[in-house]
């Protein structure tokens, strides 16, 4: 692997890697069972430099910003290298966002160049806010012959064989602007420097070194901080191979393991659970004798791997299982959201260690990671070398807000010094997550302090970002909260969003008794708890004398009356449901809560969310939520 201390910027390190391992395979791109591309480091360089030269011809230079909106594929990484080669700043945008959201972030980032796949570009062109696009140049990949590109150029034709000029950057210069949220509200563009990335890479590869011959299956979106690091910068600076799959279907992921003899892969908890379910199902289908034998072998493996993984032994004991994963898998990594310890233990007992990690974009990807020394299913591991973790204002159990300091922490939020000052205080990045560090230095996460949720797919959802979807509702005012922010719980699973509605002064609802049935539930509610809570709300009339309802909060010196009925009119409820459905499924609110008081606001009429949450917490519980 390269000694990254010797390099000042990503462009320099990547350039050295391409020269050091010219004949090693750096990239394989597969679409189902077809292989689209297989490039050596030399071929990668030959593909990227003509693009870099053409970008320079078009005026792209030091500090110019270029956005990429693409699924995981070879042209993503080739384009990124060309951008770094020319001294530019990369803006990786989430291809799963709507075109309108992408345009909003493009405007905020002030990207001069956009590189996008054809089908994504087509959606952008059709978006209502397309005219807001301020880029000077758009390159589109894989456009069909004769397609109308709406002024864009074909990526495949945008090359000049003359050599480009390498533009060096310093460690403190920005390398990427990565959006951690803000599609509907205040964009959070994390400005990450070359130092952030090089140090993060150094820390990660110190624990899990890549080398030529290592094959990393890249399925998390490359625009995401995790894959950008472990599915691009990490393997490339070690001479390893990245395998891209153009589909996320579990059957093709399984095929890829065996076809490409994968060494490492990072997944989100949802995929890990899907793999677990598939394996458990197959185990259950085994004839009785073989099933018992398998259980016994798993037990033996567990006993022998208590202190550390023993991959060779596990491979011999549980050969059939390991063969299904290609036979050369060293470890899986999981991040992006909370993973159930039982799932981690299930894989570990099979001799497949899963490195559970914790991080955030603002901290330059990973903060803590399990190093299997020994394996722990109940924590997110120890801090990486060079990263300091501190627990702020710990309570008697040692639980407090997790704060991080080190060279991987971002420089600032783009064009938002106020938010930067709130987030990085005295050099410590406040994560908004609650946790404690045990005597072995392992971090345990125990909830959130901030108003946001993370889905099992690893999607961070900020309530403010989805409020735009409910603009114009026929209600006095509304606000979205994370349920665990309103009613804190020491869990990071099953997180939900709640729409708090303050109806118009004249009630929108008929004067029906509180036992009015809820709108007919659909076949599958969000989860069983939600169904139970909704059912409770129907079966347990709530009166003003109910002991679990605290006195109504004060607002403007008056004592407002709470609406005891908790239900909106069917019309408004249907309107909320309709708008909710237009949101991507992971962004939807789980239910609504009727709140019959004016929201506390600042002089400039912004909602004081913290105060409102406190008021709600005092007089309303989860059982008052009406689930959609």
């Amino acid at each position: 692997m390269l000694d990254l201390r010797r390099y000042n910027c990503l462009g320099e390190a990547l350039r050295a890697a391409l020269d050091r391992w010219p004949s090693e395979i750096c990239l394989i791109e597969a679409d189902r069972d077809r292989e689209n591309a297989r490039l050596t480091y030399q071929q990668f360089k030959q593909a990227a430099l003509p693009l870099a030269r053409s970008l320079q011809n078009a005026g792209f230079n030091r500090d110019s910003r270029a956005a990429i909106i693409m699924t995981n594929q070879s042209k993503w990484l080739i384009s990124a290298y060309a951008i770094f080669y020319t001294g530019g700043v990369l803006v990786p945008l989430d291809y799963k966002l709507s075109a309108a959201e992408q345009l909003q972030l493009l405007a905020h980032s002030k990207a001069e160049v956009l590189i996008a796949e054809y089908h994504l570009w087509r959606a952008i062109v059709q978006a209502e806010n397309f005219k807001s696009l301020g880029t000077h140049l758009v390159l589109v990949t894989e456009a069909p012959a004769g397609a109308d590109l709406a002024g864009a150029k074909r990526w495949e034709n945008f090359h000049d064989s003359r050599l480009p000029i390498f533009v060096p950057r310093t460690r403190r210069d920005p390398a990427c602007i990565v959006y951690s949220s803000g599609t509907g509200g205040r964009p959070k563009g994390c400005v990450l420097t070359h130092d952030n990335y090089l140090e993060q890479c150094r820390a990660l590869t110190a624990i899990f070194p890549f080398s030529p011959g290592t094959r990393y299956l890249s399925i998390l979106p490359t625009n995401h901080a995790i894959d950008f690091m472990v599915g691009f910068i990490g393997p490339f600076t070690c001479g390893a191979t990245v395998v891209h799959l153009r589909t996320l279907r579990p059957e093709y992921i399984r095929d890829a393991f065996t076809r490409y003899k994968i060494t490492y892969m990072t997944v989100v908890p949802m995929l890990l659970k899907t793999l677990e379910r598939g394996l458990r199902q197959r185990f259950d289908e085994l004839p009785g004798g073989r099933r018992r034998a398998l259980r016994a072998l798993i037990g033996i493996n567990r006993a022998f791997t208590r202190r550390r993984p023993r991959l060779k032994l596990s491979g011999r004991l549980l050969g059939q299982v390991h063969k299904g994963f290609g036979g050369e898998l060293q470890a899986l990594f999981v991040g992006g959201a909370f993973t159930e310890p039982a799932t981690l233990q299930f894989f570990y007992d099979l001799g497949i260690p899963v490195g559970n990690g914790y991080g955030c974009t603002e901290a330059g990807t990973v903060i803590t990671l399990n190093d299997f020394n020994p394996f722990r299913a109940d924590t997110v591991g120890k801090q990486l070398p060079g990263i300091e973790v501190n627990i702020l204002d710990p309570d008697e159990e040692g639980i407090g807000e997790v704060a991080v300091r080190g060279r991987t922490v971002m420089s600032h939020y783009l064009d938002d010094p106020e938010m930067t000052a709130e987030t990085i205080v005295d050099g410590w990045l406040r994560t908004g997550d609650l946790g404690r560090v045990d005597k072995h230095g392992h971090l345990q996460l125990l909830g959130r302090k901030k108003n946001m949720i993370v889905t099992e797919e690893g999607k961070n959802v900020y309530p403010e970002d989805i409020e735009a979807a409910f603009e114009g509702l026929p209600v006095k005012e509304f606000c979205v909260f994370a349920a665990n922010y309103l009613w804190p719980e020491r869990t990071m699973t099953g997180e939900q969003l709640i729409l708090v509605i303050h109806p118009e002064p004249k009630p929108q609802i008929e004067s029906t008794p509180v036992t009015t049935p809820l709108p007919t539930p659909t076949v599958a509610l969000e989860n069983n708890e939600a169904a139970a809570a909704a059912s409770d709300a129907v079966s347990e009339p709530i009166s003003s004398n109910s002991s679990d309802v605290a006195p109504a909060p004060r607002s403007d010196e008056s004592t407002p009356q709470m609406d005891e009925r908790h239900l909106l009119s069917p019309e408004i409820s249907a309107e909320i449901d309709g708008r909710n459905r237009r949101l991507l499924n992971y962004k939807r609110v789980a239910g609504y809560l009727v709140w019959d008081c004016d929201f506390p606001r600042t002089a400039s009429l912004k909602i004081k969310r913290l105060d409102l949450a406190e008021q709600i917490r005092k007089s309303r519980g989860r059982h008052h939520v009406v689930y959609l």
Partner: protein
């Protein structure tokens, strides 16, 4: 060639069979994530079943931003 209605109907039949829900509980405007209680990976699984049935290939991105059976049918219809 199938009409859009036929395509929609066949998709609803496939979804009902694959996820073991009564066919009569599914209608074209339903949000399949919610109605079937599935996640995005399971939705991709449905896409595979649909491909096998119609003998076409659908890139994963055809499912992007789609949550109801009717829109899904429209995407598939355009590839038949």
């Amino acid at each position: 060639m199938n009409t859009l209605e036929q395509t929609t109907d066949e998709i609803l039949n496939l979804a009902a069979t694959h996820f073991k829900v009564p066919r009569e509980q599914l209608s074209p405007g339903d949000d399949f994530f919610k109605k079937l209680g599935i996640n995005s990976l399971q939705a991709l699984d449905l896409l595979t079943r649909i491909e096998q049935h119609f003998r076409i290939e659908l890139p994963d991105y055809e499912l992007q931003g789609v949550t109801d059976f009717r829109t899904l049918a429209e995407r598939i219809q355009s590839r038949l």
